[in-house]
């Protein structure tokens, strides 16, 4: 499968990546290469084989519903660009 530059531009916008034309073309070629790899894998007949999500047969580990975290706001906010009244401040968002 071959991606178009329009495809790449769209994905870049969705991922909030600013890319110039040369970068778009490089990314297009690289991404197309990945799709080729996927196409190769998809060509393998996997009929009758259940999909697996881990090399070992393991499932999601669950946590008891108990509070283990303490308030570390001060430490976290020490590295935030801007805070006020306990809130993280970000450029204004308008609905």
């Amino acid at each position: 499968m071959s991606l178009t530059t329009a495809d790449v531009r769209k994905v870049a916008r969705l991922a909030r990546l600013a890319m110039n034309d040369a970068e778009i073309e490089t990314a297009r070629a690289q991404l197309s290469g990945i799709f080729d790899l996927i196409a190769e894998m998809q060509a393998v007949d996997t009929g009758g084989i259940a999909p697996m999500s881990h090399a070992q047969d393991v499932a999601q580990r669950l946590r008891e519903d108990k509070v283990t975290e303490t308030n570390q706001r001060e430490a976290f906010q020490a590295i935030a660009p801007q805070v006020e009244a306990g809130l993280y401040l970000v450029p204004q968002v308008i609905e």
Binding site: S53, R61, L62, V67, E69
Partner: protein
């Protein structure tokens, strides 16, 4: 020109766990901003999600309560979008393999207008999936910036999606109310709508009968049943007017403004629906064994539907009474408790009497004072004592209402209020006969008229006798004695 309305709901219920869905931070409401936003909630690099067993248990409970298939294996997916209250840049949700599959919820619909009768309807539930809530944006006075509180980020949500089975605002509201009652009934959500524990998104479209579905618009984040009804009514009219005016409805996400009663489209976000879901590589598939499912099933209380059926079949209540009494689990508990006390302590088996008083006096007074049944100042055992006296004829119905009002405002037990207010009904036949004899003796002319055929005067005598007994004569007994003595 008739239009058909098609409505489907997506309801976000905050699950009543102690901690977040993927970390051990508290979910208590009302904490200082960001004091419950741990490293996972604020998405510090390198953190990993660990799924909360309590959240999964609640999802299973819900699935079982609506008769749905519980997926033995379900998958968490990333829903990608950028917004400051979502620090990871994606929300962990479920996509093609949700934990709860198709189920149903049967609702009682009370039409909002006209003399239409209440009816029952079964709404299909498409699915319910686990996901994390986002944080909150504050648009206060922050020098042109937005404040972000991530305490809510990571709170477990169960998003319950219905089929577009509802065809009026009344049905949508009835469904939302039934769902609200159910999640509280089974104890998976506190249902506090003001605090955002139960939020509804309503998809609305209109079409001509027989035509394919029209384009829908989604009203976001309704947190009151009243607003839901207003928003749907407004939106339906707007869509009909738009189409009849030659326009076309564009798919959009819209908000309802309670102050103006209008809906308006949100800034249409380009690519808003391009969420690029993919399985979250940080989370393995969730496996739910048959054994675990059965363990959870054993913890479910009797469900509202089953209770309703039992009230009708075993207790002889009407379908209406049964549905009123099962509007919430607390209401049903109050009724059961009143009925049991009446039965065990007074040997009076009279569910109908209990139902009448709870649906009547108790509910009316609660509504007047905007209280719910858990805040009722009269406890079930107090009410049952009062009802025992009503059943035994110790007090009249109106006397009982006075006792009830006194009990409500001042507290106390029925017996002492009856004695203190001298509300005891006169059931002593000698006393009643004496009153009647006196009346007959002092109203000879009227008695003569009555005896010559003026039957209507009977009420006049009842009035006099009641007055003479200060309203305390047992009405049934009084009638008997009067009839007998007046006949001569």
């Amino acid at each position: 020109m008739t239009w058909e309305i098609v409505i489907g709901l997506e309801v976000h219920t905050q699950l009543s766990t102690n901690t977040k869905i993927f970390s051990g931070a508290s979910t208590a409401f009302g904490a200082e901003p960001n004091t419950q936003a741990d490293a996972v909630s604020i998405a510090l690099p390198g953190v990993l999600p660990v799924l909360n067993k309590g959240a999964v248990e609640r999802a299973i409970k819900f699935g079982l309560a609506v008769g749905a298939h519980i997926a033995p294996r379900s998958v968490f997916a990333r829903k990608n979008y950028f917004y400051p209250d979502l620090p990871k840049g994606y929300q962990i949700s479920q996509f093609d393999l949700p934990v709860v599959g198709q189920g149903t919820l049967t609702i009682q619909v009370e039409p909002l207008s006209g003399n239409a009768k209440p009816y029952e309807k079964t709404v299909r539930i498409t699915r319910a999936h686990l996901e994390e809530d986002a944080g909150k944006s504050m648009h206060g006075d922050f020098h042109g910036m937005t404040g972000i509180d991530l305490n809510r980020a990571g709170t477990p949500l169960l998003e319950i999606v219905s089929e577009p089975d509802m065809c009026s605002a009344a049905e949508a509201v009835a469904y939302a109310k039934a769902l609200h009652s159910l999640v509280r009934w089974i104890g998976i959500c506190d249902g506090n709508m003001q605090e955002g524990s139960f939020r509804c998104d309503v998809n609305v479209s209109v079409r001509k009968p027989g035509q394919p579905l029209g384009t829908r618009r989604e009203i976001k984040n309704l947190n009151s049943f009243k607003f839901m009804q207003q928003a749907i009514d407004y939106e339906v009219q707007w869509q009909i007017d738009t189409i009849e005016g030659g326009g076309k409805v564009q798919q959009a996400t819209i908000l309802f403004n309670p102050d103006t009663g209008e809906t308006r489209a949100m800034r249409s976000k380009e690519d808003a629906h391009d969420y690029r879901y993919f399985p979250d590589p940080d989370l393995l598939p969730l496996e739910i064994s048959e054994e675990w499912k059965e363990q959870v099933r054993a913890t479910l209380p009797e469900l509202p539907q089953a209770k309703q059926a039992r009230y009708v079949n075993d207790l002889g209540l009407s379908a209406y009474d049964a549905s009123m009494l099962t509007a919430s689990r607390e209401m049903a508990d109050f009724f059961d408790s009143t009925r049991m006390h009446l039965d065990t302590e007074n040997d009076i088996d009279n569910p109908k009497l209990c139902a009448n008083w709870i649906i009547g006096e108790v509910t009316a007074q609660l509504n007047r004072e905007e209280l719910d049944i858990t805040q009722c100042p009269i406890k079930a055992y107090q009410l049952s004592e009062l009802l025992a006296y009503v059943a035994k004829g110790r007090i009249s119905n109106s006397g009982a209402k006075e006792v009830f009002r006194t009990m409500w405002t001042e507290g106390g037990d029925a017996d002492s209020i009856i004695v203190r207010k001298a509300l005891e009904q006169i059931s002593d036949s000698g006393a009643i006969e004496a009153i009647v004899d006196e009346i007959i003796a002092t109203n000879a002319d009227k008695v003569a008229e009555y005896r010559s055929g003026k039957d209507k005067l009977f009420g006049f005598f009842v009035g006099l006798a009641m007055k003479a007994s200060k309203g305390k004569a047992n009405p049934a007994q009084l009638n008997d004695v009067l009839k007998r003595k007046l006949a001569g």
